[in-house]
């Protein structure tokens, strides 16, 4: 069994009037190494996009963006960058 397993899956299409909506999700599964008789796994499953098909056959994909997660990552990245900059400045001064 591979360590990381990534899977993109599509759900059942839903009709909204003349528009067909197909949900798409992506899952990451991390199989942690263990001894025989044990199993450990971590799973992250999140919405990826919705595929839309209109009455004229026109297809469109709308991504599902996680604004909360992006804001959290931006805050952490900003704090890490600031800490790294201060550490670098301190090493230069010393």
């Amino acid at each position: 069994m591979s360590l990381i397993h990534i899977k993109t899956s599509r759900g059942k299409p839903v009709m909204a009037g003349e528009v067909e909506i197909t949900p798409v999700a992506r899952s990451w599964r991390l199989n942690l190494p263990t001894v025989p008789g044990q199993k450990r796994a971590l799973i992250l499953n999140r919405p990826r996009a919705v595929e839309i098909r209109g009455s004229g056959g026109r297809r469109q994909t709308l991504p599902v963006r996680d604004r909360t997660r992006r804001s959290q990552l931006a805050i952490c990245a900003g704090a890490s960058a600031l800490a790294l900059a201060l550490l670098t400045k301190r090493k230069r001064d010393s």
């Binding site: 263990t34 199993k39 796994a41 799973i43 499953n45 997660r69 800490a83």
Partner: protein, 146 residues
């Protein structure tokens, strides 16, 4: 447990324990299904709403079985020779709303759900760690200049 060890061989008991672990793990892996992420569509007048959530989970399982003495043939063992087995595990699954797909009047859009509480908590924790880091850094500087 003595009744069980006398009814099953060591190999059969180990296979049963392994099968139980595998079966539970397969049920947990079902969390990776797309149906767990998108909820049931909700229809109201001409509007259709599909909720979308992020699902995270972790699971750990283990099972083991052993006999007191190693004998090649099961007939050579006695019923009260000793043996035992056990297993355990733990896990957690949590979900968080991410967005809502809204379909109305032939138009489809994705409305994100922003959790302000989570963002503020992240900012507080990140700033707290940064403050501790800076305090430690300046404390070392002061000690150098003494």
């Amino acid at each position: 447990m003595n009744e069980i060890t006398s009814s099953f061989s060591e190999k059969e008991a180990a296979e049963m324990a392994t099968a139980m672990v595998e079966d539970t793990m397969e049920r947990f892996i079902d969390v990776a299904n797309v149906d767990r992420v998108y909820g049931e569509p909700i229809a109201k007048d001409d509007t259709l709403i599909i909720p979308a959530a992020e699902v995270m989970g972790g699971l750990g399982l283990g099972a083991g079985f052993g006999m007191g003495a190693v004998k090649e043939k099961q007939e050579e063992r006695q019923a009260d020779e000793g043996g035992g087995g056990g297993g355990g595990g733990g896990g957690r699954v949590q979900s968080r709303p991410v967005a809502v797909v809204v379909a109305a009047n032939g138009d489809v859009r994705v409305e994100p759900i922003i959790d302000k509480t989570r963002i503020v908590l992240t900012a507080i924790v990140a700033n707290g760690i940064l403050f501790l880091f800076l305090a430690r850094m300046f404390r070392r500087r002061k000690s150098l200049f003494r």
